[in-house]
């Protein structure tokens, strides 16, 4: 057995030696656990989970996205809430969500059990899409010049506050939106 030396002193001579029984056992446990965790995120959960990270994205000019979002609001608007347009997109359809300092537009009304494709982008700075349903939340990053594409299927009715969780300026805490899920 090579002589062991303090962590603060220079080791002398040959200090390389094989693993003892204790270390071998522990190293194998960590290797197995590392591989298990990798298999879980890469293969197991993608097969069995209902909550998948399958974000898509494409680049867009912020002005183009803004006009697409305006057109979307005009087409499907069903009312207003606090002066913010409320839209009810067709089930299975696209939902444009337009972020700006400091508002989410529009308020979106969805049907429970239907799948929607959210197209989310920003007109100005970075924002954080955070749909709060305590004790959980769904969060994705929103960048100007990129559209974050996210498929969502609400399975619970109610009102879900949409907040911003990426600091976007001194009015960050004023930025709020809403998603309403009905039967």
């Amino acid at each position: 057995m090579a002589s062991r030396v303090s962590a603060l002193a220079k080791p002398r001579g040959v200090w390389w030696e094989g693993l003892g029984r204790d270390e071998r056992l522990w190293v194998w446990l960590t290797v197995i656990w590392g591989i298990a965790m990798f298999l879980m995120i890469a293969f197991v959960w993608p097969l069995i989970g209902e909550e998948q990270n399958r974000l898509h994205a494409y680049r867009v000019d912020p002005a183009t996205f803004a006009s697409q979002a305006e057109a979307f609001i005009q087409q499907y608007q069903i009312g207003q809430r606090d002066g913010v347009p409320v839209v009810a997109p067709p089930p299975g359809g696209d939902v444009y969500l337009d972020a700006r300092a400091f508002a989410w537009q529009p308020v979106i009304q969805l049907k429970r059990g239907e799948t929607y494709r959210f197209l989310i982008s920003s007109r100005d700075v970075q924002h954080g899409f955070s749909l709060v349903m305590p004790p959980h939340s769904i969060n994705v990053q929103v960048l100007p010049g990129y559209v974050t594409v996210l498929e969502l299927t609400p399975e619970k009715t109610g009102e879900f506050p949409l907040i911003c969780n990426e600091y976007c300026g001194l009015g960050h805490h004023l930025m709020i939106g809403r998603i309403i899920v009905t039967e």
């Binding site: 062991r4 962590a7 190293v27 960590t30 909550e51 955070s130 709020i176």
Partner: protein
């Protein structure tokens, strides 16, 4: 050049100390503690604002202070201290000279100038862009970015000097194999080099853009480069902290690493794989494919996590063996009961390892998966994770080793020893309460960097998250109360350090305990023990059964929490993807 007058021989450790290295260690360490104090005061004010029932600061002040707190703590405090550590590990610990003192002076002055200007600009509201300074959010003045760049270049020079010192010591024949402590800091220095370069690559175009020289900066590419620094710098802290852990184990129990090679391989695993952790911040970004995320999020097969798990075993194992050699051999845990719990360095080591491992490390692995990240990205769970790693882990470990290195380097008697003995426990208790409160609030969806989750001033669509789920108020109160206790613990450290440095009695032989001298010697004499090997029947039975039990219990807890996180994800009432 290396005349006798420029070196002194330490009467306690027998090391030859280069006077110019010593001066620069003092300067960097004192500057670090000044930043720690500033950051600590800001921490208190921020915690008392996020504690919704107190809600102390006005919004603009709050965001200014969060920006400043992030930079001051994550970059300035910790890098100044690490530069002190790099100089120590590459000169004093090797009993060798500092090769180019003026390079370290330039590095120090650049870091000082850059950090002071950046801090003043942030505190005066001219750079309220947070630690991350994501474009296209723009600081009021482009000089903020310039100041940070100057700091980064200074830090790069300090890191380069570390390598110069080591190579020169090697060429001169002063050193063969490096001490494990220096080896770990070399790992930290390698990671530091590319993190700082990545940060400079991210920030330089932003500086040009803020000046109006280039029209725009791609926010997605900025995030990729920026997180090479943002997360990379924390991996520097990790590697440095692990080095300090080994050092503290040797200083307080006379531990000698169980298997030198294994511990070094674990550090190499950090260097090779931990940079992938930078991608953890981009898991819900647009623009990156699933497999980029999977491979990086898992540090490829969790090789870097394996490194940490090896240290988590090796360090207690080496202490168990050292204490068994001292005669504490009964049962599984006599060595642990008889360990020096009243020794500030040992207390700091144990509290730092427990909080880092149990809360910081496990939470990092959990939220670093691309799927679970969707329910934690940018919530308070993220700062809860890195406060457990960088504050409860790294900062406490650094405080612990300061109790030995400050008296030895400054040649002063440690003052307020009682305060130092209690400090790690007070600080740890505060961080524990703080971290649990903050983490739970994050899991409940409370966002980070947010002034008011009651949305009391929102003009439209307001909603009060605390009314939605009243337990959130309790979590935020825990964060506030834990924060107060931790700040008291931090202030205890600052009191001990400042008193020792400025009014401690000057002496060439400060009292640092009887184990310390042997911790620096390659020929250890076992103080107080019978000296015979602990495991007489070596290899027939386990050498460190107590540590194995602790480690396996830790792994079971890890597996349980990991499984629980997937269960929580499955309970999200919406289908995603």
């Amino acid at each position: 050049m290396a005349t006798a007058a420029t070196m002194r021989r330490c009467e306690i450790t027998g090391l030859s100390v280069d006077r110019s290295a010593e001066r620069l260690i003092m300067l960097n360490a004192v500057t670090a503690v000044v930043y720690l104090t500033i950051g600590g005061v800001l921490a208190l004010l921020i915690a008392l604002t996020r504690w919704q029932a107190v809600h102390l600061l006005a919004p603009q002040r709050f965001y200014e202070f969060v920006s400043t707190h992030g930079m001051v703590m994550l970059i300035f405090w910790i890098l100044f201290f690490e530069v002190a550590g790099l100089i120590f590990a590459s000169t004093v610990l090797l009993s060798t000279r500092m090769v180019i003192p003026w390079l370290s002076w330039i590095a120090y002055l650049m870091m000082l100038g850059g950090s002071v200007i950046a801090t003043v600009l942030m505190l005066s509201g001219q750079a309220t862009v947070m630690f991350t300074s994501y474009p296209p959010l723009r600081a009021e003045t482009p000089w903020y970015y310039a100041a940070v760049l100057v700091f980064a270049v200074g830090a790069i020079l300090a890191v380069v000097h570390f390598f110069v010192n080591i190579v020169a010591a090697r060429l001169r024949g002063d050193v063969g194999s490096l001490p494990l402590f220096t080896f770990a800091l070399m790992g930290a220095a390698i990671i530091a080099l590319w993190s700082l370069l990545s940060g400079a690559l991210a920030l330089f175009p932003v500086f040009l853009w803020a000046l109006g020289v280039i029209p725009e900066v791609d926010p997605g590419i900025y995030r990729l480069l920026y997180w090479g620094l943002g997360h990379g710098a924390q991996q520097v802290n990790l590697a440095a902290m692990v080095g300090v852990w080994y050092g503290l184990a040797s200083l307080t129990t006379g531990a000698r690493p169980l298997n030198e090679g294994l511990s070094r391989i674990a550090i190499v695993l950090y260097v090779l794989f931990i940079n992938m952790g930078a991608m953890h911040h981009l898991l819900v970004d647009p623009g990156l494919g699933t497999w980029v995320k999977n491979v990086n999020a898992s540090y490829f097969m969790y090789a870097a996590v394996m490194g940490s798990l090896i240290h988590a075993f090796s360090i207690p194992a080496s202490m168990e063996l050292a204490l068994r050699e001292r005669g504490y051999r009964r049962g599984l845990f006599e060595w642990l009961r008889r360990a020096p719990w009243g020794e500030p360095g040992f207390a700091a080591l144990v509290v730092s390892m427990i909080l880092f491992g149990l809360l910081g490390g496990i939470s990092g692995v959990i939220i670093g998966g691309p799927q679970v990240n969707m329910i934690s990205h940018n919530t308070l769970l993220v700062p809860a994770h890195f406060h457990m790693t960088v504050v409860a882990g790294t900062t406490l470990a650094f405080m612990g080793i300061a109790y030995y290195l400050v008296p030895l380097i400054f040649q002063r008697q440690l003052l307020f020893r009682r305060l130092a003995q209690w400090q790690p426990y007070v600080y740890g208790l505060g961080m524990l309460i703080f971290g649990i409160g903050m983490g739970l609030a994050g899991h409940w969806g409370v966002p980070r960097r947010h002034w008011d989750i009651t949305f009391s001033t929102a003009p439209v669509l307001g909603v009060n998250l605390q009314e939605l789920r009243p337990e959130i108020a309790v979590f935020l109160a825990m964060m506030g109360i834990g924060g107060i206790i931790a700040v008291i613990g931090g202030a205890m450290f600052v009191a001990v350090a400042v008193a020792t440095v400025f009014v401690g009695q000057r002496t060439a032989r400060p009292a640092v305990g009887r184990i310390v001298p042997e911790a620096f010697s390659p020929y250890p004499a076992i103080a107080g023990g019978s000296g015979e090997p602990a495991a007489a029947a070596a290899h027939r039975t386990f050498e460190v059964p107590g540590t194995l039990v602790i480690s396996v219990v830790f792994l079971i807890l890890f597996i349980f929490l990991y499984g629980f996180s997937w269960f929580e994800l499955s309970r999200v009432p919406w289908k995603i993807g």
